[in-house]
């Protein structure tokens, strides 16, 4: 077993070794956490001092959480799709680890998107839930996340679960644009007359800047959580393997 990680050996194939991956995570994680805290500090300050939107007033500040959460919800499914290809096509050993831990994190951000969208909707549209195209698509995405998590928890063997989840993830990825298109169609058929414009015809720079900072901060947070969770999952599988060995030995095989 290699105890040293050489600086150049960061090819994907080397990362396939879980032990080497763990060493990499231990080194990178503190920097990621620092970067995360830093960008959140900048982003939150900018959000606090952002001007009020001419249409929505100060509630535009909710957008600084709502939009990054929506972006992460999509990004996470994209990440899981790449991981799914890694499992099915290239059989990368860490691919299903990456996919498994991404699902709850993505579901969390999807949930946050729904909640903040609802809280944004109440002062804007007068009701906590509104079936506009965006919120509805995200609700369907949330259902898909929950189904995926349920699938992971139903199959005991991690590698079989990984393959099943990979197929569902890819089918879901194909379906996401179809669902978005369908919901947009459905919404334009049924939508009441008023159309909601985000912050006016274009987003002013004074609102765009905090939005981008918060988006960056949330993305770094996602990557931090994801790497840390991957580390946990590798450890969990080690525990499982050791317990299996222990049970096997106890049988006197």
């Amino acid at each position: 077993m290699n105890t040293q990680t050489s600086a150049q050996a960061l090819a994907w194939i080397d990362l396939a070794n879980p032990t080497r991956f763990l060493t990499l995570v231990e080194r990178v994680l503190p920097w990621l956490v620092a970067a995360c805290v830093g960008t959140f500090a900048v982003g939150l300050v900018q959000a606090f001092f952002a001007p009020d939107d001419y249409q929505q007033g100060a509630t535009v500040k909710i957008m600084f959480i709502h939009v990054p959460s929506a972006w992460l919800a999509m990004f996470c499914w994209g990440l899981m799709s790449v991981a799914a290809l890694g499992t099915l096509v290239w059989r990368h050993p860490l691919a299903d680890v990456a996919a498994k831990v991404a699902a709850p994190i993505g579901a969390g951000f999807t949930f946050l998107c729904l909640i903040t969208g609802s809280l944004w909707g109440r002062p804007m549209w007068g009701t906590y839930w509104v079936w506009d195209a965006r919120l509805t698509s995200v609700l369907v995405l949330f259902l898909m996340y929950l189904g995926l998590i349920a699938l992971w928890r139903t199959v005991e063997d991690p590698s079989r679960a990984g393959r099943a989840a990979a197929i569902l993830t890819l089918v879901g990825a194909i379906n996401l644009p179809i669902i978005k298109f369908s919901v947009d169609w459905w919404n334009t058929l049924h939508q009441p007359a008023s159309v909601f414009r985000l912050g006016g015809p274009t987003i002013d720079a004074s609102i765009l800047a905090p939005l981008l900072w918060m988006a960056l901060a949330f993305t770094l947070l996602f990557l931090t959580l994801h790497l840390a969770a991957m580390r946990n999952e590798i450890l969990r599988r080690r525990v499982r393997t050791l317990r299996l060995m222990q049970a096997h030995a106890a049988r006197g095989a």
């Binding site: 070794n17 100060a58 509630t59 709850p104 903040t116 959580l225 393997t241 060995m245």
Partner: protein, 63 residues
Amino acid sequence: MTLGPHADFIIVAYGMAAIVVGALIAWVLFDYGAQKRLLADLEARGIGRRGSETKPTADTRSA
């Protein structure tokens, strides 16, 4: 600076964000601690990764 007439919604939204993010962080940290503890426990019982009692298993297998 005032948050306008809908200040409550803004505060609750940021509060929910803190709760969700906090829950995710807590999950990661708690799980880490739990797995480390389990590994240490198994290690203490002499079931090392090279298996002193049983045949060794390649550590690149993830399952």
